[in-house]
């Protein structure tokens, strides 16, 4: 017992030292970043440089990563640094002072949290929209072709919890078409709903078009007309506490440009 606990303490010490080292490293890198962005502020007008910190909804991860790389290529000397996560937790981070230049949210409701705290500079604009789609296991063995098919007995369907945006949207679509659907589970976010279908534990899930795209050949998408009743707008806004206003403006313009829209459309997003 004693030797083991000594051993465990040592492991903990090691882990602690490692964590401290990581903290120190990240502190260094972030101070380096702010230095370079400070330099960009003084360098003045047209040319942008430095780091743009973008907080973006998890569903934007693939598209924004591509856009970030392209942006860096077009503006040498810039670096786009992303933090992807659930829109509401990102919003909470921003209102409690997280240093970010741009916020791209998956719903106007979560963006409103940030604008409500007056943390945005200028009004948010909708830059893409996302529509629901049914994800089934490959080959669609249960021949699902509409939302109504999911209400039939014997099908294991997962929905997002009503408290998260994809669940609220699914509920809206169900209500609009007067359907009642009893899932086997209300998942905590859209990705875990998709995972249950990818692992074939569930027969179908109601997710976003972009998630079906991201699922590749592990899932098959089925479009349904009721999804038009519940389309999600994605707003983007510049943040007041951001350190690199010029680059932030340029990044938002790039996301909204024809080129940016094309990249996002490839992920399944709709034009705003």
């Amino acid at each position: 017992m004693t030797t083991r606990s000594v051993h465990r303490i040592r492991t903990l010490q090691l882990a602690g030292a490692g964590a401290a080292a990581l903290l120190a490293l990240s502190a260094c890198s972030s101070s380096g970043d702010s230095g370079s962005s400070g330099a960009s502020d003084t360098s003045g007008s047209g040319k942008i440089s430095g780091t743009v910190t973008v907080f973006a909804a998890a569903s934007l991860q693939e598209g924004f990563t591509t856009l970030g790389k392209e942006f860096e290529k077009q503006h040498p000397g810039t670096k786009v640094s992303f933090s992807f996560g659930g829109s509401d937790s990102l919003a909470a981070n921003i209102t409690s002072g997280a240093p970010a230049d741009v916020f791209a949210s998956a719903s106007p409701k979560t963006m409103a949290i940030v604008t409500g705290e007056k943390d945005t500079a200028g009004a948010p604009v909708t830059f893409v929209r996302n529509q629901l789609e049914i994800a089934t296991v490959p080959g669609n063995p249960h021949k699902v072709s509409s939302l109504k098919d999911l209400t039939g007995s014997g099908l294991k369907v997962v929905l997002c919890a009503k408290t998260v945006p994809c669940g609220a949207a699914a509920q809206k679509a169900l209500d609009a078409s007067h359907l009642k659907l009893t899932p086997v589970s209300y998942e905590q976010d859209v990705k875990s709903a998709l995972t249950k279908v990818e692992l074939k534990e569930a027969d179908a899930a109601v997710v976003y078009r972009t998630d079906v795209k991201a699922g590749g050949d592990k899932v098959q998408g089925v479009e349904f007309p009721e999804s038009a009743e519940a389309v999600n707008d994605y707003p983007i806004a510049r943040l007041k506490n951001g350190k690199n206003a010029a680059a932030a403006k340029a990044f938002i313009a790039f996301v909204r440009s024809a080129e940016g829209q094309k990249v996002l459309a490839e992920d399944g997003f709709l034009k705003a």
Partner: protein, 285 residues
């Protein structure tokens, strides 16, 4: 937990075994370099819980707590945590005995593997359970094909997920007690003609009952708070798989007050059970 009927020397298994020190030292003898961080640690551990009490929506609490969903989730939590503890006892005590009392090749490795769920992120545990016992899993597909049993999205799935993360606590606790217990009692029983199993049942088991109780309490508490493996393996459906931690997490997304109220319930239940069991089993040594 009803089979544990011998209170005894288990204080050493609990983190709060401060009886001896309190008896000897007194506050005056405590050096400042120990006192300061110690008090800080205490504050750090208790402050968040205090914040829960301070921010609790006391005026709307009765409404929050009388909803049918809360009781449903609480009942499910208690039933599944207790079932998971029962599973852990039935399977974990023999495993602990094997680890402590027998020699076999690779025993050190087995012991390390047993503790793996302690350090594994619970979500990973949930994914692993899905891959093993899911409808399409390594074993699960045969369960489905032969018996028509599917475990994900069922209450049984919740119990399994909880047992997976909670059982190591019991095994480690019982194994430690077994190592501390004198094997000569068992040997004496053997020389008097008892079979090894009889010796285990009549001599060893009563001897290590306090360790088993301590392990069971730890396992139960861990099972009650289990979130990641449960939501990953068993999903979330009110009344069937939605335990208290799940409903707290989901409530937090749009109704923080409800989440605080639910957290208070879970906190109260945990404290009540730990305190109750502590009085009954862990002290008075």
């Amino acid at each position: 937990m009803t089979s544990l009927d011998k209170p005894g020397a288990a204080a050493r298994h609990l983190p709060g075994g401060t009886r001896r020190r309190r008896g000897r030292g007194g506050r005056r003898g405590v050096p400042l370099p120990l006192l300061l961080p110690g008090v800080l640690a205490l504050a750090f551990l208790l402050l968040p819980l205090l914040a829960l009490l301070i921010r609790a929506p006391w005026h709307s609490l009765p409404d929050q707590l009388t909803s049918a969903e809360v009781w449903q989730a609480l009942r499910l939590s208690l039933v599944s945590a207790t079932s998971a503890t029962a599973v852990s006892l039935v399977l974990g005590v023999p495993l602990a005995w094997l680890l402590a009392r027998t020699e076999f090749p690779g025993r050190g490795l087995v012991r390390a593997l047993v503790t793996l769920p302690l350090v594994l992120p619970p979500v990973v545990g949930g994914v692993a359970l899905l891959l093993a016992l899911g409808r399409n899993g390594v074993i699960g597909q045969w369960l489905d094909a032969w018996f028509g049993i599917t475990l994900p999205f069922t209450t049984t799935g919740v119990v399994l997920a909880e047992a997976f993360v909670a059982m190591p606590f019991l095994v480690i606790s019982v194994e430690g007690t077994l190592r501390a217990a004198d094997p000569r009692f068992e040997e004496a029983a053997a020389t008097l003609g008892a079979s090894r199993f009889t010796a285990f049942r009549r001599v060893t088991l009563p001897l290590i009952a306090p360790g088993i109780a301590a392990g069971a309490v730890l396992a139960w508490a861990r099972a009650l708070g289990e979130f990641g493996a449960t939501i990953t393996f068993a999903g979330n459906f009110p009344g069937r798989t939605q335990t208290m931690p799940l409903s707290v997490y989901l409530a937090l997304q749009n109704d923080p007050d409800a989440a605080i109220a639910l957290s208070l319930v879970l906190l109260t239940v945990s404290i009540a059970v730990l305190a109750g069991l502590r009085d009954r089993w862990m002290t008075g040594v």
